[in-house]
């Protein structure tokens, strides 16, 4: 446990907000790439595999960058 803590301290003193934004950016790129390759929308699992990240990171990150509403609203205005 001491070792895990030291590892975390050395590597992760950054804020969650920044880390999530980085992951979200990668996830969007991966989504574009996989959409082209698969000729359909990729699933969360496929993106997670592509980035070698846990699915839960992807889920959290995808929510951190954009409010889906703000993506959608211009259609109606």
């Amino acid at each position: 446990i001491g070792e895990i803590r030291r590892y975390l301290r050395d590597n992760n003193s950054i804020r969650v907000s920044r880390s999530l934004r980085d992951t979200a950016y990668k996830a969007l790129q991966s989504k574009e790439k996989l959409s082209r390759e698969l000729q359909r929308e990729p699933t969360i699992t496929e993106i997670a595999k592509d980035l070698d990240l846990p699915r839960e990171e992807i889920v959290l990150a995808l929510d951190s960058i954009q409010d889906p509403i703000s993506l959608f609203e211009p259609v109606f205005h």
Binding site: K31, L38, R40, E41, P42, T43, I44, T45, E46, I47, K49, R55, E56, V59, L60, L62, D63, D67, P68, I69, L71, F72, E73, F76, H77
Partner: protein, 145 residues
Amino acid sequence: MVNQMKLEFLNRSENESFARVAVSAFITPLDPTVEELTEIKTAVSEAVSNAVIHAYKEDEKGLIQLECKVDSERRVIIIVSDHGVGIEDVSKAREPLYTSKPNEERSGMGFTVMESFMDKLEVVSGTDEGTRVTMLKKLDKAYGI
């Protein structure tokens, strides 16, 4: 029901994002596409933000419940409820562009968005009895798993 959960949280606007992520995480084992997930999240946002904005009087602390069930046919059922002021005329409230708060830049499109992103929408409400919004969406077949 293959899996189910319930959330309860305060009527604070940051809990809209919390509810959205909680639902996303809960249905992630079904491996939805990003598009399906975005649609469900958007519908959840609209239902929860309605409860945050409309259900309780200004500065009144109120609780919002969200229930989610998934079954073996990949159906996702989401129920958002509050014990707030309720809606007098539900059919009018569901009309596109109708809003009771035109001065606050509300679009009046919340129910329309829920309806178009989900397969089914049911709204049960009554003055001073609170509101209960039930939404259903059947996910496409699973690709990745």
